[in-house]
């Protein structure tokens, strides 16, 4: 699983840090840091964090062809990965 946070959308609500504290971290009061490659035991935490993001800024990508890929094609039209956040992978899904 790979994740991208659209930092143009992120407003620092920190809900992801509560729900997946091993993947997302606040650097200081507001800057978000995260590990883009998510280890297996954190997948469930990350899915919860993505569902809970108040501005839906977390894009979760499963490897293409993986049967566990999220259903529903694509997220909101304006939720593409921001430049500098390292995204653009095939199979990235705005979930």
């Amino acid at each position: 699983m790979q994740i991208v946070v659209d930092l143009n959308r992120c407003q620092g609500y920190a809900q992801c840090v509560f729900l997946a504290p091993r993947v997302f971290e606040l650097h200081g009061e507001e800057a978000l840091m995260y590990a883009p490659a998510v280890p297996g035991e954190q997948h469930e935490h990350v899915r919860r964090a993505a569902a809970a993001c108040p501005v839906q800024a977390i894009l979760v990508g499963e490897p293409a062809g993986d049967g566990a890929a999220p259903s529903g094609a694509g997220g909101p039209a304006d939720a593409g990965p921001s430049s500098g956040a390292g995204g653009g992978r095939a199979g990235v899904d705005g979930r």
């Binding site: 609500y13 920190a14 509560f18 504290p21 971290e25 501005v55």
Partner: protein
């Protein structure tokens, strides 16, 4: 300038079970001045803009009728929910320090095991019963136990907390014809009693920390320092009441919604990994906090083509915004896999629900455990009897029959 009676009708208890047609009417009418001088907003984009507008004050001291201030404790200062920045920000940061990131990032996540254990104990206790009251037997005791444990309230004092909270919530009943003086007085006395109780409890932890939030608030200090004693009292009351009242309704509204949608219930049993997204949809579809009645414009503000004058009570009907067809496709449909679900279930902006992460975990675990252990649950009455408050809306009882099962 048009005047309307929508607020009157929304607060009327007769509409508590299904206020949604009134909310649709509100969205169609646009922003309208009510007969009592307040302004009601029910469309998504207008609510979103106002929640992020620094000209809209949350300071309860700006209210035309401060007697109705939510959760105000006697002569104590407002808690951070009733303050504007920078004072709101300072107090919220101090209280956040032992609760969440950046200082305590893993605290809520670590409660997962405890919450699951409490949920299973409650479910075990009604094994063998053919009929349960989901509110009294489960949805109420679960969050009360969790928040009391988190704050550091001993288990034997929980009945006092329940009694005080009931009196405070009864004070939020805006139903026309009820005696406002009496309910305000009773609610005020309960808040004051709760504040003094929590002050004493926190005092006993000074120098003797026991790992809970009250201990941290009196023993630790970050860059902002500590809360003063009056601030500690008023914010502790806020955490204790807001920390469970709304979660009761989230869990109960959740089971009610699932029971009304058997296809959804079956799907969530097959796909429990869908529960986080189902909880978000519940927060949109049946939000525990229906409206924010206590905002005040600090200057004339234009909303949806109407000028809301400085000082007029502004009521943001979050539950109406959550079903705005201009924002959500097919908004009256409950879709547990809904994408792009930026609901107002926890508000938005600087006052975004402090306890949201805790509520999410509690609701997810509670509903998952209920679906796992309740075989063929059946709703006894629909609609169920509702609690009085139009603000914190939810069933007072939810009787569920169990056919078969263990």
């Amino acid at each position: 300038m048009s005047t309307d009676t929508l607020f009157h009708r929304i607060t009327d208890y007769a509409h508590r079970a299904d206020p949604y047609p009134l909310y649709a009417e509100l969205r169609e009418n646009g922003v309208a001045r009510q007969e009592d001088g307040s302004y009601l907003v029910g469309t998504y984009h207008e609510i979103a803009a106002l929640l992020h507008d620094p000209r809209i004050s949350s300071d309860v001291r700006h209210l035309t009728d401060p007697g109705d201030a939510l959760l105000r404790v006697g002569d104590l200062p407002p808690s951070f929910i009733g303050l504007d920045d920078p004072e709101h920000d300072r107090q919220r940061r101090i209280v956040m320090r032992p609760f969440g990131p950046p200082h305590s990032p893993g605290r809520i996540d670590a409660l997962h095991g405890d919450i699951t254990r409490i949920a299973r104990e409650l479910i075990d206790a009604f094994r063998g019963k053919d009929r349960i009251d989901l509110v009294d037997d489960f949805a109420y005791p679960l969050p009360v136990t969790v928040i009391c444990g988190l704050l550091g309230v001993p288990r034997e004092d929980v009945p006092h907390v329940r009694a005080w909270t009931n009196a405070v919530i009864a004070g939020l009943d805006f139903t026309p014809g009820t005696d406002p003086q009496r309910r305000r007085r009773a609610a005020g006395e309960a808040r004051t009693a709760m504040a003094h109780y929590l002050e004493e409890l926190a005092g006993s932890r000074r120098g003797h920390p026991s790992g809970d939030l009250l201990s941290a608030l009196v023993n630790d200090a970050g860059p902002e320092g500590q809360l003063t004693t009056p601030e500690l009292m008023t914010n502790a009351v806020l955490l204790l009441i807001a920390g469970h009242e709304t979660t009761v309704n989230l869990i109960t509204n959740g089971m009610l919604t699932f029971l009304r949608h058997p296809d959804v219930l079956a799907r969530l049993r097959d796909e429990p990994e869908l529960m986080p997204s189902a909880v978000e949809e519940l927060l949109r579809y049946e939000p525990p906090v229906q409206l924010l009645p206590q905002r005040t414009p600090l200057t004339d503000v234009e909303v949806g083509g109407i000028t809301v004058p400085r000082g007029a009570p502004l009521v943001l009907v979050l539950a109406a915004g959550n079903r705005d067809p201009l924002r959500f496709a097919d908004p009256d449909r409950f879709d547990p896999a809904r994408q792009d679900n930026q609901h107002f279930g926890f508000g938005s902006g600087i006052h975004n629900c402090f306890g949201a992460p805790l509520a999410r975990i509690e609701a997810r675990i509670a509903l998952t455990e209920l679906l796992r252990h309740l075989d063929t649950p059946r709703l006894v009455e629909d609609p169920p009897p509702y609690r009085r408050s139009p603000v914190l809306r939810g069933p007072r009882h939810l009787l569920v029959d169990r056919v078969g099962g263990g």
